[in-house]
Symmetry: C2
Subunit: 505 residues, 2 copies
């Protein structure tokens, strides 16, 4: 092909993929609506709508002509330089196409069925603490994911990596394991040191009842202040907070409020607004194409954790925010910045991941990463999983679940087939600390800016060094370029130590 | 075809149409979401999503193979008896197919473009009172609709009827005109008599500020009490109230609240809940097929008007509802049933249709019906429209708009190409009164039931005589079967006279 032929073919491909994105974003609306108050009896028909649209999208994504265009483009001059938006999009689309045609339709269908059934059985078995009822479908799901991993693992050092790669492109589990092990070797003694301390925050300043309408207003106001653009987004309520994108200018964050929790709604908002800021910062002209995608789940999580924890749980954030919170909640009138800061940063080993504090959280993830890798590698059976889970909790956190409800059945992930997903949570925390350190090197005193409610310099730095790249760079390359360093647990450990040790005398 | 072949072909057609309905109901969700708080900058992409899905639906609806199936089915034994759900569905689908292929694509496209531009120009020209700016596009829209009417009018007595038929199937404008003229000849003197009276309600009992959160709760509670099923529906807020269906068990009503209006939010809810009750009463197994459609816009409007006005503005409704309203609004504490009943039924000639009372409302409709028919028949030009409008208002209501903002440009309908739509509003009022009279004949003292908050007998009667038929019968046949009478303005005039005259001494 000559240049103008390549460009015409790229334009045709672009138009085709952008059309597919109209269906994908409509599918996202069907799912958003399902999570924000769909009538009880409407769920079955909604599932039919979702299945039909998913089928249309699948047809388009596996269309032979489209695959041929991508092959031609991959061999054209447009595939260079490799980090241009055009080249990155061609590469990403071809990768997705190859993967979707590489997996037998039969396997895809059996997996889709198994994870639907898996989540149903899980939701029934968990409250009954009935791991035996969950075991057969879990075994089936693990077997199906291993089958998939075997097919996809040609280009990967181990089977697990081919699953991990679906959430964190190009990630290698042995490299991650090195950093995670380093992290664990420092986190376990830090957590012990903190929990053995005789002093420390007791949570009293944020105990009690907090009017939900006021929580809603504070959360929306805080999201606006950190830069979430409500002309291009919404904040709504749901059972499990999430963030979704319905168009290049339509980013929706969802949280939940409890009147007996000051922090759930607000930190749910900050976390999801962090995701939303990333989505709002992606290049809109590439919406629906890889150059407009987020780089990876780990990088996405770095944005949510950075705003939720490194900004939102800092002393300086509360210097700025407390007066605003006091206006809405009279019971905070006599609370000091130091008190609320300390109470929002209590460390306490616990059994439930989603309720964990910043320090222990990563230990919950690390052991899941180890266990799921062993499952896929064939070094652990589903029958052995509950006791391996208990042993690992005892070893890392010093506590053991009394049953499987608060143990191996607490998360939906494996029931939903999400194996290789957990490590992206801790990668997100590691990336966040690395990014924050790099931003401070360049911008200076970020805490002082936060104390003034001046979040724009930090957001602009993230826009420039992370958001604007879409997925043109590999996640590791993006992070190295932004932070001038390789993956390292040091900034995260330094941050946690610096913040938490003084709180515990 | 033998019987089993016909049945197999019908099943294939049913499956195909039900698949199309998955897209149509998804399109309805895109539109519902657009009206319930889509982010400001997201509207353009939403228009692309809507256009793409509309295109997919159009492709399916005009597919040649599908058309051939319908022709075969129309000639099969399944086409009899004609009022069976199967026969009615075949007939309705074939009718829609024939119409969609009868109109040249070029005309459809030009009309779609003109009404989009028309609404944009209207929304800019109306606040500036600039009819001259609106005139060219209005002329284009009228010309396009006349062109369409000419193509479709083979089976109709006049061009206008082929437009009317799209909203009220099989309706004949000359038959409607007879009844509308009768109605006008009685309404004009009734309104004069009421407005010349020296006594009458002054609206004071419902003046003042009404907490919006309490209005929301009262509205939702009332909707529940009259039978709207919130397990199969939702109540939300929007700028222009409407009702939409997103699935066989997903009916969404939307209203709007103003703190300085006690009645807007509540009567918006009652009106839309009336539509919603009809949708919830259609046979769900025929969802997406004509046997599961509402019979016509006029019949639909009869359901909304019946619940809004004949039930919701009755003295007995307020016997039941006032104590509940008083619990929420302390300012109603000393208001009597007679006072609030009277104040919610004030009659006053005014220029704006959507603010009109029950008596004058129909005069607003009648003159629009007369004018739009003259436009299509070629007896009136768009240039002459504003003065004809003013003359007709003066003649029917005794008042004349001082400008086109409160005159010919007040409604979006013609700018949106909706010509033939207006008469369905008054047909709805006429049908509602006929239905209510028939229901009373069969059920006895409905007002006494309403006074007890017992709405189920009336709803069940409507389910049995209207809702459950879908569109298996022609609207006129459905109404004659339910009411044992032909189209007549008598029950409506009797109802208005009985209710309103005593209020005006």
């Amino acid at each position: 092909m000559n240049t103008s032929q390549s460009q015409a073919l790229f334009q045709k491909t672009y138009d085709y993929v952008r059309e597919t994105s109209l269906l994908e974003s409509t599918l996202a609306l069907l799912e958003w609506d399902e999570q924000t108050g769909i009538p009880a009896h409407a769920a079955e028909f909604r599932a039919n709508q979702v299945a039909f649209l998913s089928g249309l999208i699948h047809q388009r994504a596996t269309n032979c002509d489209y695959g041929a265009w991508l092959s031609e483009l991959a061999n054209s001059e447009l595939a260079h330089p490799s980090d241009s938006p055009v080249a990155a999009s061609i590469r990403g689309l071809k990768r997705d196409f190859d993967k979707s045609v590489q997996l037998p339709l039969d396997l895809v269908t059996r997996t889709a069925r198994a994870v639907t059934v898996g989540q149903q059985i899980w939701s029934l078995a968990k409250p009954k603490n009935d791991y035996a009822a969950f075991l057969p479908i879990l075994k089936e799901i693990v077997a199906l994911r291993r089958e998939e991993a075997t097919i996809l693992s040609k280009n990967h050092a181990c089977k697990y990596d081919s699953l991990l790669d679906q959430y964190e492109e190009h990630a290698k589990s042995d490299e991650i394991a090195v950093v995670f092990t380093e992290l664990r070797e420092q986190l376990v003694p830090l957590v012990q040191r903190l929990t053995n301390s005789k002093s420390g925050p007791d949570g009293k300043s944020i105990a009690g009842i907090f009017d939900v309408a006021q929580q809603q207003e504070l959360s929306k106001w805080v999201a606006t202040q950190i830069g979430f653009d409500f002309d291009r987004g919404r904040l709504d309520e749901t059972v499990h907070p999430f963030c979704t994108t319905l168009g290049p200018h339509d980013h929706r964050i969802l949280t939940r409020y409890f009147e007996d929790s000051f922090s759930s709604g607000l930190y749910g908002t900050l976390h999801e607004a962090g995701h939303g800021l990333y989505e709002q910062g992606l290049p809109t002209e590439w919406f629906g194409m890889p150059a407009g995608y987020a780089a990876s789940l780990g990088v996405h999580e770095s944005q949510s954790r950075l705003w939720e924890n490194m900004v939102g749980r800092s002393r300086e954030f509360w210097q700025w925010c407390l007066p605003h919170a006091q206006q809405r909640f009279p019971q905070l009138k006599n609370v000091s910045v130091d008190q609320i800061f300390a109470d929002l940063n209590r460390v306490e080993p616990s059994l439930i991941r989603i309720e964990a504090d910043e320090a222990t959280y990563n230990l919950h993830i690390l052991l899941r990463f180890e266990l799921e890798k062993e499952l896929i590698d064939g070094n652990l059976t589903c029958e052995e999983l509950p006791s391996a889970w208990g042993d690992r909790y005892e070893s890392y956190l010093g506590i053991r679940p009394k049953d499987d409800r608060e143990g191996v059945m607490q998360d939906v992930h494996w029931a939903a087939g999400l194996i290789g997903y957990f490590p992206t949570y801790t990668l997100g925390n590691i990336f966040a600390a690395q990014l924050m350190a790099a931003a401070e090197t360049e911008l200076g005193d970020i805490p002082a800016m936060v104390a003034n409610g001046d979040f724009a310099p930090l957001l602009n730095w993230l826009r420039q060094h992370v958001h604007s790249f879409g997925s043109c760079l590999k996640p590791t390359d993006l992070m190295e370029k932004a932070t001038q360093s390789k993956l390292s647990s040091k900034p995260l450990m330094a941050y946690l130590t610096r913040k938490l040790v003084p709180l515990y005398g």
